[in-house]
Amino acid sequence: MSKLLEIRDLRARIVGGRDILKGIDLDVAPGEVHAIMGPNGAGKSTLSSVLAGKPGYEVTGGSVLYQGRDLLALPADERAREGIFLAFQYPVEIPGVNNMYFLRAALNAGRRQRGAPELDASQFLKAVRDKLKLLDISDDLLRRAVNVGFSGGEKKRNEIFQMAMLEPKLAILDETDSGLDIDALRVVSDGVNRLRDANRAIILITHYQRLLDYIVPDHVHVLSEGRIVASGDKTFAAELERTGYAHLGTAA
């Protein structure tokens, strides 16, 4: 199967700091769901930030190919328009900007990039209704300013709703389960599961095995001290739950 994402010996750090990623190798094919687990400070968030192109990080070695192209050469907005979606661990508030308006701007930016016609207001509204139904989300979030005054659960649901609307090829969910109670976790997980698709890859970044009870991955990787130290199939997560990360030690 052709690869969507090929990460080779990726090394990166916060500008001016020490390397946090110390040689990551990862292949992701369309349709696959990969879980990346690991303790705090392992480099999970750095990995998602580097893949999404967040300023403040620098790559010191290795390569990332996305659809065969050098991903690291693209600015963040272009990566997004090319189909990479980062669900934020801490979604950002944008006062005064209506959620719907924001989403339509984002959607049409991607469509322009692909040469697809932009959606007018009524087409957009129809798409919104379809996705709301699919995700079982109420529409009250849409009328409010982006993430302003949202509860933690609402913010995460909003991220998944954005993902549904933008239909990415590669979705990176950065600790989407953090801070969610069990009901919210279920809603969000159901949403993600409905968005699983043969043409869409998902990388779940999480600290807790619990998320993987709801979103069952194809592959599980353990990230520790900037390297992937162990990988396995979905049963590996349950095994980790019993044995913990400690025995995996640090990579050689």
């Binding site: 979606f85 950002v92 701007a105 984002a106 930016a109």
Partner: protein
């Protein structure tokens, strides 16, 4: 004819964000010069200049006397120095105080208007003639100093609404002009108001009779074209008892290396139960990125709520001018009268703005609202200066003021200078102020959804200004959003 930075004006877009996207481009878009023979006063200012202007306009003796009185007052006055502005001293003798496109006496209809002028307006996207009908806007276009064409006059006349150039109002409705001219902004109010009173060349006049609701937005478009010319227009707007009118004003000027002076006076009078909404999108040439050239926008705008329950609302989007000195104010004389001021002011590069409002509570149960959004980028300096004054007889007076400042980059400045003077123990006056920076997290969040850096900035800034932008009439709101985007080009990255 030199089209310095003119590009095709994009079609108005339905989606304001699209407008932002299209708004990107190459600096000041209105910086073209129209090559028209002009009838000018010789440079300099003395009593002879005042007489020249008055004679050119064929004014009655009372108005000449009025001008001369103002001129003599002006001679004894000095420019205000209390604003937080760095102003190079102005040589008032080097400026030209009257410049009219040479077409003999005023044009009677659009057909008589110089085609070059009409082309200019087309470039500006002003809906004259048929386009005015489509847009439903009646436009009084002031080009340099003379009002060129007023559309829709007949239709308005059926309702008894007078909308014409100031010069025409002096000829056709002298009683109204005489009664109200200078009644809100006295000649000696300040240095620039006195100067304007002496040498004002034209402007707009509106009268809405009792109980009439003006069915369309009235609009004036100002443009300074001639070099070294000051523009001193005068607007007088009267809403009689129970009348309603919404008025829009837009401004552009060509790119020139020297500074040009714009010293306008706007007077609004709202009688009992009348309502006036006055919106301005000010996009005078701001000067280049090194602060060379640009308009000095020294404007006095004031409205008087003369009757009970009268309402006056100012909305302004100030993106242009090298220096802005402007405080649209409300005199809340009538019991239960209401004043509002909504402002967005942007300073980029070396622009300076000192702007705000005065809300003077005189009558009982008067209320006022002030929402000011200042955005500073580049090395721009942005000051909100506002006064809330509650007089001893203003029982039940209320004011709410909110001043928010947004900083983009590290070299700009935002300043808030509220003056609150309360002489009534029962007054309720609230003032809230915030200063924030656009966060990298906000920018990245937008970019991670596919928005370019420019679009992300526009989106965040427009969100910041939303409470003000929603007070603008629809067609202006779209233009204002475009201007915000253009004004902030190059301020990030």
């Amino acid at each position: 004819m030199s089209d310095l930075a003119m590009t095709e004006k994009p079609e108005p877009a339905a989606d304001p964000l699209d407008a932002l996207v299209q708004g990107g481009g190459d600096g000041y878009k209105y910086g073209f010069v129209t090559d028209i023979e002009a009838d000018e006063a010789p440079p300099g200012l003395d009593e002879g200049t005042v007489r020249f202007i008055s004679a050119k306009k064929g004014e009655p003796a009372w108005l000449l006397d009025w001008r001369l009185k103002a001129f003599h007052r002006w001679q004894r006055m000095s420019p205000p120095d209390w604003a937080k502005l760095n102003i190079a001293s102005i040589d008032y003798q080097a400026s030209t105080y009257y410049s009219a496109p040479k077409t003999g006496t005023g044009p009677k209809s659009l057909d008589e208007v110089d085609p070059e002028l009409l082309k200019t307006y087309e470039k500006l996207g002003i809906p004259l003639g048929e386009r005015a009908a489509l847009a439903g806007v009646a436009v009084d276009a002031v080009f340099d100093s003379v009002s060129v064409a007023t559309t829709y006059k007949d239709k308005l006349a059926d309702l008894g609404i007078i909308f014409c150039s100031f010069g025409e109002a002096v000829r056709e409705h002298p009683d109204l002009v005489r009664r109200y001219l200078g009644s809100v902004v006295p000649q000696g109010d300040n240095f620039f108001a006195a100067l304007n009173s002496a040498v004002f060349s034209d402007g707009s006049f509106v009268y809405v009779p009792p109980g009439v609701r003006c069915p369309m937005e009235l609009s004036t478009y100002f443009r300074i074209n001639a070099a070294k010319t000051g523009q001193f227009e005068r607007t007088l707007l009267i809403a009689d008892k129970g009348a309603y009118v919404s008025y829009l004003e837009g401004c552009t000027a060509p790119q020139r290396d020297e500074n040009q002076l714009h010293a306008a006076v706007v007077e609004l009078v709202a009688l009992e139960d009348a309502e006036i909404k006055y919106a301005t999108v000010q996009n005078w040439y701001p000067g280049d990125e090194n602060g060379k050239g640009g308009i000095y926008n020294f404007v006095t705008k004031r409205g008087a709520c003369r009757g009970a329950r009268a309402k006056i609302s100012w909305a302004q989007v100030e993106t242009g001018s090298a220096i802005t000195w402007k405080y649209p104010s409300c005199l809340l004389e009538g019991d239960g009268s209401v004043g509002a001021f909504y402002s967005v002011a942007i300073t980029n590069n070396l622009q300076q703005a000192d702007t705000g409002t005065k809300m003077i509570h005189i009558g009982r149960d008067t209320s006022s609202t002030v929402i000011s959004k200042g955005i500073s980028a580049g090395r721009g300096q942005n000051t909100y200066r506002g006064q809330v004054k509650v007089m001893p007889k203003a029982d039940g007076a209320r004011n709410y003021t909110q001043c928010d400042s947004l900083l983009i980059g590290k070299k700009c400045g935002a300043h808030t200078v509220p003056y609150i003077e309360v002489r009534h123990p029962g007054a309720k006056v609230e003032h809230e102020a915030t200063t924030s920076k656009i966060s990298e997290d906000q920018m990245f969040y937008c970019q991670a959804r596919g928005l370019t850096q420019e679009d992300a900035l526009s989106l965040i800034v427009n969100g910041f200004c939303k409470e003000v932008l929603k007070e603008l009439p629809m067609e202006f709101a779209v233009e204002a959003q475009k201007l915000l985007a253009v004004s902030l080009e190059g301020s990030v990255g």
